[in-house]
């Protein structure tokens, strides 16, 4: 089984208008920047993007918004901390202008929704968000003496993830804090595309050290490590 694609452009070529795409990465760490850039070149429209942030630590996602490709964003930490920097960011301007729909979830709920989708679970109860705006429109139920909110699974059409190393079968090895959203997003995506720094032959990875089993990954493409500099202000 060989899942290697020759280029990022070929790996994203079939993404249709209206697709939903989960994009891994915690600010700078583990963001599959070359896939996002390829998607900007590819030009699919009316997309729903599911990712932690819409600019902080990762300007590239803003290019998708500036390019009018995004209809909706589902996030947990979308904006720059600084109000003045945010005011000039394409995402925040589009939200204020009513041109970009946005849904925000607590970080733990956000990733659990993706985990559930990948694990065949329809919904789950979490104590996070009770008594806040997050509970609006959701079922609230008491278990024991504590209240919980019902949150539904979130299943994207595609997932863009990042790995330090993989084999041709799609087994992924992540590196330090760049692992973050990759394992659960990979399992959640109907088609998962992994941007990988180094691709080896089957047998060359230590099976005990694999973070994402290849069954979750449909496409692997070699990329050069993108250079970025941390800043979320």
């Amino acid at each position: 089984m060989d899942k290697v694609y020759p280029s990022v452009d070929e790996a994203v070529a079939d993404i249709p208008d209206g697709a939903s795409i989960a994009i891994a990465g915690f600010f700078t760490a583990g963001t599959p920047v070359p896939l996002i850039r390829a998607l900007v070149r590819q030009g699919a429209k009316d997309l729903t993007v599911i990712c932690m942030q819409m600019g902080p630590g990762n300007e590239d996602i803003n290019h998708l918004v500036a390019n009018k490709q995004v209809k909706k964003a589902i996030c947990n930490y979308p904006f720059y901390r600084s109000a003045s920097r945010g005011a000039s960011s394409p995402t925040e301007m589009a939200v204020r202008a009513g041109e970009l729909e946005m849904e925000v979830f607590p970080m733990g709920t956000f990733i659990e929704k993706l985990r559930a989708a990948g694990a065949g679970i329809a919904a789950f109860y979490t104590p996070t968000g009770v008594g806040t705006v997050v509970e609006t429109g959701k079922e609230k139920r008491k278990f024991g003496d504590r209240e919980y909110l019902l949150e539904e699974a979130l299943k994207p059409d595609y997932a863009f993830v990042y790995a330090y190393k993989s084999d041709r079968m799609g087994n992924l090895v992540c590196h330090k804090t760049a692992r973050n959203y990759t394992p659960e997003m990979a399992a959640a995506g109907k088609i998962t595309i992994a941007a990988v720094e180094s691709i080896v032959e089957p047998g060359q990875l230590d099976g005990d050290a694999v973070h994402v089993p290849g069954v979750y990954v449909q496409r692997v493409v070699k990329v050069d490590r993108p250079a970025y500099f941390p800043s979320i202000d």
Binding site: T28, R81, V95, G131, R179, N180
Partner: protein, 228 residues
């Protein structure tokens, strides 16, 4: 409610030191963005394990320029270092351990805290964004998941308005979770009887603190200068 004079309290660094003194040896601790992050400067050599939401236990000090690794950051996106015994895991597991009750203490910043221990910290309505969106990040999970929630914040806003309120007027992060408030002026514990003023900054009186605090404070019988 604004005080006539601007009270001079502790620096952010000394507030962080006061919070560090509150942490117990042998505990797992998560530090939020802002003043809480500075607490890490005061626990070197102590038996305290820092968790970073991004997916790391035993997060080390900030990385110096020559040791920056792109794949090694804390939850504030700052390059950090490893310590002996550091380990990594996914975001999902990171929040499983947070909600699962494995964090002994979370130190969070706040925009407002109520006298019942309600915490408002994720959205400042003055920024003018729609009321249901903003940077929630990991704050709501930490606020409900950690066994103890300490807030570290300035006592008043830049405009001099009290941040300790009878009721929070900003969107809540969680209700009834804060047990201790450390500010530049005071240390206040949240109790079923109300807010108890435990410690004051040097040169600051209980009356001074009350003048910039909306709810009535109960003055501890053991009121002391902040223990640094």
């Amino acid at each position: 409610m604004c005080a006539d004079k601007k009270l001079k309290g502790l620096s952010r660094e000394l507030m962080a030191l006061r919070v560090a003194n509150e942490l117990e040896d042998g505990s797992y601790v998560n530090l939020g963005i802002g003043i809480p992050t500075l607490v890490s400067d005061w626990i070197e050599g102590r038996d305290i394990i820092l968790q970073a939401e991004v997916g790391m236990l035993n997060t080390g000090p900030l990385a110096t320029q020559d040791r920056v690794e792109q794949d090694l950051i804390n939850a504030s996106c700052q390059p950090v270092t490893e310590l002996p015994g550091s380990c990594y895991f996914s975001e999902c597991e990171s929040f499983a351990m947070i909600r699962g009750g494995y964090m002994d203490t979370a130190v969070l910043g706040a925009l407002q805290v109520s006298e019942k221990g309600d915490l408002a910290g994720w959205q400042n309505p003055e920024r003018g964004l729609p009321e249901d969106i903003g940077n929630i990040g990991g704050s709501m999970d930490l606020a409900v998941g950690a066994r103890k929630v300490i807030v570290a914040m300035m006592h008043v806003t830049n405009e001099g308005e009290p941040k300790i309120r009878t009721e929070c007027t900003y969107p809540l992060t969680a209700s009834g979770v804060v047990t201790l408030i450390v500010t530049d002026l005071a240390v206040i514990s949240v109790t079923p009887r109300g807010l108890v003023l435990e410690e004051v900054a040097p040169g600051v009186t209980a009356e001074d603190v009350q003048s910039v605090t909306e709810p009535r404070l109960i003055i501890s019988q053991d009121l002391a200068e902040i223990r640094l």
